[in-house]
């Protein structure tokens, strides 16, 4: 690139071609006041505050939108410029309400700042008042357009970064202001309350509603969001030992509603602050010493009486990598049991098996940055705008800003349907037929990447033979999509050499879960779109540290780094390190133990951060299993449903109160920093584990968290040199990115480079649609309600905004049953019935219903089945509806 040299305030400075005058000035350390400019947004030149004078021509230019050209002579502070700037600010103030003293924006207000910089107090102009505030009912954002200075940041942020497009200018001239469609309140627009516009608005026009603290804090601590697997970097603003505001950390474009507003659970009154011990059936508050003694003794006694195989330990996606590492070590060495698991292991297992057996890589094969740069995105069975909002943003940015194409395979009309080029709505449980027929079309139409297939893969002939059974023309009826549409989707996917696949529980948690993943992997292998630039396969991982919990070995079958526990040499490595014997057999998973309906083989369980009663299907089975235990220790932030069954409850600290790391679903490490001290009476999980081990007479040899990190670096593949918290928060983002790329390369080099095709054979569901159970039930995860809701349910604003738990039904079905929104019905499965309220939804095709997964009683409707590859799925998905007769 050609360098550009200009004269800036009598000094020669250079920049790269294409840079604006403002950018060059910034690099040269010359301050130009700005309001509407933001490095993440397209410049628009709205506020004119960044005026500079071109001394060659005498022209005044908005430097944020003026490209630097060689030989320009720029003065950033000539008297003309200063004069104009003052006028601009005075005019803004003239139409601004005199509300600074009571405005929450306080000294964070950019208008306030520039006015102060220029020494403008009273503008000396007649006041002109503008619009009234917009009536908002949501608990997150209030808009007061009278304070709006029309910088357009909210509009651009919403359109360019989170790509909701909720806002645009409305009207022209003096009446212009940012507004939603139909000028409705935000809650009736496309707004998802990501909070981005709020964090960018330079004035008090957009303000956080109902926030616990008004005003400016002096302390902000960078950490990692505790909700989903995207692992966003957050900046926690602290006031009086409370987290009072959460903003995207530098380098993090945007958060979502959970990250921005869900932090309230940290300070919920329901947090546990004293350890509890159950005495004669009721909990009593006790000291930590007593609680740890009771916990240690209970575990020890059960171990001595029934053998170590009667003990089990649960790590959690809520816990850090280091905590999961310690927990599995605690289980394997202190307790001597191989029964270790965490709540995300099943999903992880399905993915590990099916991707591992096909692509050879067992998790996400690339980064979000790559996804955003793909030319074609195939999204199957997931609504990432809800489950993993950063993935949603990246997909929408690719489509909206870069004109990438998107194929959506999804029965529901999700937000992504608006962006899709081709939207396929397969009939229930026909995904595998659809995916196989797409594979068939790719082969039949000669769209495959022959070179890739012959050089990098095995088993093509078998797959090709197998797929002959699935021509689109033969499948179209069962799938409910015309053959030509299936073919055109196959062509679209195969026609790009930069194609990515994103999938989630809509295809994995079904009867053909593993088959679906393999069929998707086959598509990627056939076309050579597995990894490399612009390619990749992205399983959406919902819980925040699901990835890390599994990688740290909180798994029944694997030691840290997915190293199989049944392999002697792996065991030997860890036995030498830990100087203890490790149980050689793989342990039982939680699902196998709690949900088989058989007697639970365990006598004592140490459960950290998991709430199986609220997460597993058919909770009564889990409840029975927990009641049958001799001894249960639960460690959590709240007295969860599971904790009710405990003999000892240990209060844990939240993410804001501890250090450690989370691994995002893309395999990136996010660091936690201690932003506030642990809530009085609680302790970080890792400290509790260390103390418990000590209590049991077998202390783990770590005196600090960084010793644990060093060990992880050395013994867990993929985590070599992950530990860099010292320079992490002062990092340069570019360096950061090259670190991840390098790690990525190492990963692929470590694999043997061969992938193999696997023919995924469809299974016959045990329960099929029949006259008796005619509706297919989809379980949905609402944006603001996370997982089982242990934490999000304790965040007041999230809970208050999405309180309604309803059964959604398509308009056609509702008409047939003559049901109206608001009427009560019973959902009946072969196992249970559930009474609820219906709501007619345009998002659902006829024959399908949906319920939020966090709805109490929903999981009673299901049972677990497993396909022949031992990956469990929920069944049945078919239910019937009964009207609730109010006279009864």
């Amino acid at each position: 690139m050609q360098p550009v040299t200009i004269t800036l305030n009598q000094r020669e400075v250079s920049g790269r071609s294409g840079m604006t005058v403002l950018e060059i000035a910034r690099e040269a350390g010359v301050y130009i006041p700005t309001i509407c400019d933001d490095p993440c947004l397209e410049p628009v030149g709205a506020c004119r505050l960044c005026l500079v004078e071109n001394e060659n021509t005498g022209a005044l230019l908005a430097s944020c939108v003026t490209a630097a050209t060689p030989g320009m002579v720029i003065n950033t502070h000539s008297s003309r410029v200063q004069e104009h700037r003052k006028n601009i600010v005075s005019l803004m103030l003239a139409s601004h309400p005199d509300a600074c003293l009571v405005c929450d924006k306080g000294n964070r207000c950019r208008l306030h700042q520039v006015a102060a910089e220029m020494g403008i107090g009273e503008p000396g102009l007649e006041k002109i008042s503008r619009h009234a505030a917009v009536e908002e009912l949501n608990p997150f954002i209030v808009r007061d357009t009278a304070k709006c200075i029309l910088c357009g940041k909210c509009i651009r942020a919403c359109r360019e970064i989170v790509v909701e497009g909720a806002l645009d200018y409305y009207y022209r001239g003096f009446a212009a202001r940012p507004a939603t469609f139909n000028d409705s309140p935000l809650e009736h627009s496309e707004c998802t309350f990501c909070g981005l516009c709020l964090s960018l608005c330079p004035t008090g026009a957009l303000m956080e509603s109902e926030n616990p603290y008004r005003g400016t804090t002096s302390e902000a601590v960078q950490s990692t969001c505790s909700f989903c697997g995207c692992g966003c970097s957050v900046s926690l603003e602290i006031k009086d030992r409370q987290v009072v505001r959460v903003l995207p950390a530098p380098g993090q474009l945007a958060l979502c509603v959970r990250g921005s507003f869900g932090y309230e659970y940290i300070h919920s009154r329901d947090r546990l602050t004293r350890p509890l011990v159950k005495k004669n059936g009721t909990f009593e508050e006790v000291s930590w010493t007593e609680a740890l003694a009771a916990a240690g003794e209970g575990l020890q006694r059960a171990g001595e009486k029934h053998g170590p195989g009667a003990l089990a330990v649960f790590g959690s996606s809520r816990c850090t990598n280091e905590e999961n590492y310690l927990l599995q070590r605690f289980a394997r060495t202190v307790l001597g049991t191989g029964h270790v698991d965490n709540g995300s292991s099943l999903y992880n297992l399905a993915i590990r098996r099916s991707l591992g057996e096909t692509t050879g890589f067992f998790t996400t094969s690339n980064f979000l940055e790559t996804l955003e740069n793909a030319d074609l995105i195939l999204v199957a069975g997931t609504d990432p705008t809800v489950t993993a909002p950063q993935v949603g943003y990246a997909i929408k940015r690719a489509v909206h800003n870069r004109k990438a194409k998107m194929i959506l395979i999804e029965p529901r009309r999700t937000r992504l349907a608006f962006f899709a080029h081709q939207w396929l709505r397969p009939l229930p449980e026909s995904d595998l037929l659809l995916l196989n027929s797409m594979g068939r079309a790719v082969i039949e139409e000669g769209l495959l990447n022959r070179e890739y297939v012959s050089r990098q893969t095995e088993g093509f002939e078998d797959l090709s033979d197998f797929l002959r059974e699935f021509p689109p023309e033969k499948m179209q009826e069962a799938v409910g999509i015309p053959a030509e549409e299936i073919r055109s989707a196959a062509r679209l996917y195969a026609g790009s050499t930069r194609s990515v696949i994103v999938f989630g529980s809509g295809v994995t948690d079904t009867i053909n879960g593993t088959g679906n993943i393999m069929a998707l992997a086959n598509l990627a292998l056939l076309t050579g779109n597995v990894w490399g630039s612009g390619c990749g396969i992205y399983p959406i991982q919902k819980a925040n540290n699901a990835q890390g919990a599994c990688e740290m070995g909180s798994l029944p079958d694997a030691l840290p780094g997915y190293q199989p526990v049944e392999q002697e040499e792996t065991r030997k490595k860890f036995e030498d390190l830990w100087e203890r014997k490790i149980p050689a057999e793989r342990g039982l998973s939680a699902m196998e133990a709690f949900n088989s309906g058989r007697e639970i083989p365990w006598k004592a369980v140490y459960m950290v951060g998991e709430n199986p009663v609220a997460c597993l299907p058919r909770p009564q089975l889990t409840e029975e299993a927990l009641s049958s235990l001799d001894f249960l220790v639960v460690q959590d932030l709240f007295l969860t449903k599971t904790a009710q069954f405990a003999d000892v409850v240990l209060p844990a600290s939240s993410f804001a109160e501890k250090e450690g790391s989370f691994t995002s679903f893309e395999g990136k490490i996010g660091w936690l920093q201690r932003a506030i001290p642990p809530l009085e009476g609680s302790l970080p999980d890792w400290e509790i584990v260390l103390q418990l081990a000590k209590e049991m007479g077998d202390p783990l040899p770590y005196s600090s968290l960084s010793q644990v990190m060093k060990e992880i670096e050395e013994f867990v593949p993929l985590y070599e040199s992950y530990y860099r918290p010292d320079d992490y928060f002062a990092r340069e983002l570019e360096k950061e990115w090259s670190y991840w790329e390098e790690r990525h390369h190492r990963v692929f080099q470590s694999m043997d480079g061969f992938s193999r095709f696997s023919p995924p054979r469809p299974r016959t569901p045990y329960f099929q649609k029949d006259g008796e159970y005619p509706y297919y039930l989809i379980l949905e995860a609402p944006l603001a309600y996370f997982g089982s809701g242990t934490r999000s349910g304790k965040s007041r604003r999230l809970r208050s905004f999405y309180p309604r738990e309803v059964l959604k039904i398509s308009a056609d079905d509702a008409a047939e049953l003559s049901l109206n929104s608001g009427e009560r019905v019973k959902v009946v499965s072969p196992f249970a019935r559930l009474e609820t309220v219906v709501e007619i939804s345009e998002a659902l095709p006829a024959g399908t219903l949906s319920l939020p997964i966090s709805f109490p009683g929903v999981l009673d409707l299901f049972r677990i089945t497993r396909d022949d590859r031992r990956s469990p799925s929920l069944e049945p998905f078919y239910v019937k509806l009964e009207r609730v007769n109010l006279d009864e």
Binding site: R159, G165, L167, D168, Y169, R172, A179, F181, S189
Partner: protein, 162 residues
Amino acid sequence: MSEAKETPEINMGRIKEIIESYRHQRWPLIPLVQQIQEEFGFIPPRSIPVIAEALNLFPSEVQGVVSFYEQLYTEPRGRNIVRVCRGTACHVRGGKTVLKLVKQQLNLGENQTSDDLEYTLETVACLGVCALSPGMVINNQVYGHMNPKKVKQLLRREEGEE
């Protein structure tokens, strides 16, 4: 954009046809909404999400464009468009009173349309007929040297004609 006056007989099928015929053009939005306005007299707000989806735009964006141009309307307009001048020349010669009288006579505010869709009242910065000030225009016919009597007569005549 209130939907109060949106007549229920908007033929969405026809609107979809129009959208279909424009969507593959290079800059389709403005000609498309003009065409809709031509046929329907205004751009029904209900059509905006449909237009947006077809053109890969956001409804707020389409609304932003439509509300930016004075010549695009999102409410039905009256069969008779009355424009009163607010320009300087007219102002100094009693334009304000003329406007007041017209408002009274039609029982309408600026940029309003009567419920029976008979009249729409607008004001204009300068009609370009300053020599005839104060001036007003009814359905493209210019009337100059307005006075209270003339206002009454004119608007009554308009009514009579219908």
